[in-house]
């Protein structure tokens, strides 16, 4: 397989993943049903995972699926189920009266930074290097336990705190009855 073919395949892959991200992202923000929005998010997550793969970072891609798709999105699903917010949650009827103002503001909020940054990215882009060899797990591990040990530990503490907090809040809910 020639270098050129691989290059082309990479572009095709990029296009595919971009499409996933776009479609999923749109579904995530536009869909009236929260569960469908979540499905959109998951689609996006897969697209991002694909981009990680394109950048030859499979570990990150799998972690993306393991953590985001396997855990975070399931948690969000739980939140949807427990709050019982049925379709039309985005306020379908409300949205109609707001559509001019609110949607316009939202588009503005999204587009302003997007346009500025896109111009910056395109204009001031440094040259891309060729893809570096895959970072091995061992390297990552050394990094995490070496210079980044503090961040690593902090994340552990944050996770622990989040868990404890969730448990405490959950118990408060039970007691409230």
């Amino acid at each position: 397989m020639g270098e050129a073919l691989q290059q082309q395949l990479a572009y095709v892959g990029y296009g595919l993943y971009l499409l996933l991200i776009l479609a999923g992202g749109l579904a995530a923000v536009m869909s009236t049903s929260l569960v469908r929005a979540l499905m959109g998010l998951i689609l996006t997550l897969f697209g991002v995972a694909g981009m990680f793969l394109l950048m030859n970072a499979p570990f990150l891609a799998f972690m993306q699926i393991l953590i985001y798709v396997g855990a975070v999105s399931v948690l969000i699903f739980f939140a949807i189920m427990l709050t019982k917010t049925p379709e039309g949650e985005a306020g379908a009827e409300n949205m109609l009266e707001w559509i001019g103002l609110r949607a316009g503001l939202a588009v503005l909020a999204a587009l302003t930074p997007a346009i500025i940054m896109a111009t910056l990215i395109v204009k001031k882009a440094p040259a891309a290097l060729a893809l570096k060899p895959e970072v091995t797990l061992a390297q990552l591990g050394e990094f995490l336990t070496g210079p980044f040990v503090l961040a690593f530990e902090l994340i552990s503490v944050v996770l622990l705190a989040a868990m404890a907090g969730a448990v405490v809040l959950g118990f408060e809910r039970r007691k409230g009855k």
């Binding site: 569960v35 049925p86 009855k177």
Partner: protein, 388 residues
């Protein structure tokens, strides 16, 4: 989703009139268990209000298999009503046979020959074992164990073969007659019964090993559905449900009928009144039934199997009578009010499942759904008996 749409969809009287718990804060789920549900054994329906997996309130809804047995008793002659008795509780049909036949005999003063009494005891106890076996299998099935019911049915099949030999039926027996039984037992019957008892004694340890000792089953039964004696008294629970709570009340022992006062047997009782105790009581009762059958077979006298001096027509004098026997599910009572005609003026059946069922609503309160299923199974309900 679903919730709002669903609350609009349900329109049944019992669901819409199921008054929500005043203390509930609105995020509860009204769930219909039954009438088609794998664990409601036939057509019982229970409306439950659930908070997550916990049951807030529950309410049994009866009447899906109501067949007007009591009313039928008023339009049929005494003899014609007899086959109905096998269909009230089809799992322990002979006990119902006995209760009705005994009541009429008491009303008309008919003497039963001793051989018939022993035959009745043997067949009724065999039927009790088969009923308990079915309960055992079905209960474990409710708890998710699928295999035991097949073993139970293999043994039940042998009991049914034995009973078919004399009764001609395999489930809804109509075997007892006023003044005796409809057919005499022969040597083959006795031989087969003895063989079965030997076989059954070897099977029981297997059952205990497979199920009783199993830690998962114990986890599902122990401390589940603890039924205090006071509550039994309030609801009139009888049978293994009552004995599981530690009250050694058994009609066979405390209001002895037939030849039960001449036979030796224990009345097994539980301690805490949880589902495991009810389970243990039933398992021990099967052993006692085996004991009773063995003694009865040994003591079986010769003689006629049906009283020779029976009246031509069964028309009792005016009067009323109540006769109770111990069924597999509890105390079976038949009350007859006679106005001197060929048909009863009023016939009332006291079915144990009816009383036992109503314990469920209170027991299930605040338990997990899975526990409620376990409790319901441990009460050993036969739904047609509830809706007489």
């Amino acid at each position: 989703m679903p919730h709002d749409a669903m609350s609009k969809l349900v329109g049944d009287y019992y669901t819409t009139h199921f008054s929500p718990d005043p203390t509930s804060e609105g995020d509860t789920l009204i769930l219909n268990l039954g009438p088609q549900h794998p664990s409601t054994h036939g057509v019982l329906r229970v409306v439950v209000e659930m908070d997550g997996e916990y049951i807030r309130r529950s309410e049994p809804v009866l009447g899906y298999i109501h067949r007007m047995h009591e009313k039928m008793g008023e339009v049929k002659t005494y003899l014609q009503y007899l086959p109905n008795m096998g269909r009230v509780d089809y799992l322990h049909a002979l006990a119902w046979n006995w209760a009705y036949v005994g009541a009429v005999e008491k009303l008309m003063g008919i003497k039963v020959p001793p051989r018939a009494e022993y035959i009745r005891t043997i067949t009724c106890e065999l039927n009790r074992i088969s009923s308990h076996l079915l309960w055992w299998g079905a209960y474990i099935l409710d708890l998710g164990g699928i295999t035991p019911i097949f073993y139970a049915f293999a043994d039940r099949e042998r009991i049914m073969d034995i009973l078919q030999r004399v009764t001609g039926a395999r489930l809804t027996y109509c075997y007892y007659r006023f003044g005796g039984v409809s057919a005499d037992i022969d040597d083959d019957f006795i031989k087969e019964t003895r063989e079965f008892l030997q076989h059954f004694k070897t099977r029981l340890p297997i059952y205990h090993g497979l199920v009783t000792g199993n830690v998962i089953l114990r986890g599902r039964c122990e401390d589940i559905g603890v039924l205090p004696v006071e509550m039994c008294r309030r609801y009139g629970a009888t049978g293994p449900v009552l004995r599981g709570s530690g009250v050694a009340y058994d009609t066979r022992r405390f209001e002895p009928y037939s030849v039960y006062d001449q036979l030796e047997f224990d009345v097994p009782v539980g301690k805490n009144g949880d589902a495991m105790d009810r389970y243990d009581v039933r398992m021990a009762e099967m052993v006692q039934s085996v004991r009773i059958i063995e003694q009865a077979l040994d003591a079986l006298p010769d003689g006629p199997h049906v009283s020779p001096d029976l009246p031509d027509r069964f028309i009792p004098d005016k009067g009323e009578v109540y006769f109770a026997v111990e069924g597999a599910r509890g105390k079976i009572g038949v009350y007859i009010l006679s106005d001197g005609t060929a048909k009863p003026y009023r016939l009332k059946l006291r079915s144990p499942s009816f009383s036992n069922l109503h314990v469920f609503a209170e027991l299930a309160q605040g338990t997990l759904l899975a526990d409620a299923i376990s409790i319901m199974g441990s009460l050993d309900l036969v739904i047609p008996e509830i809706d007489r």
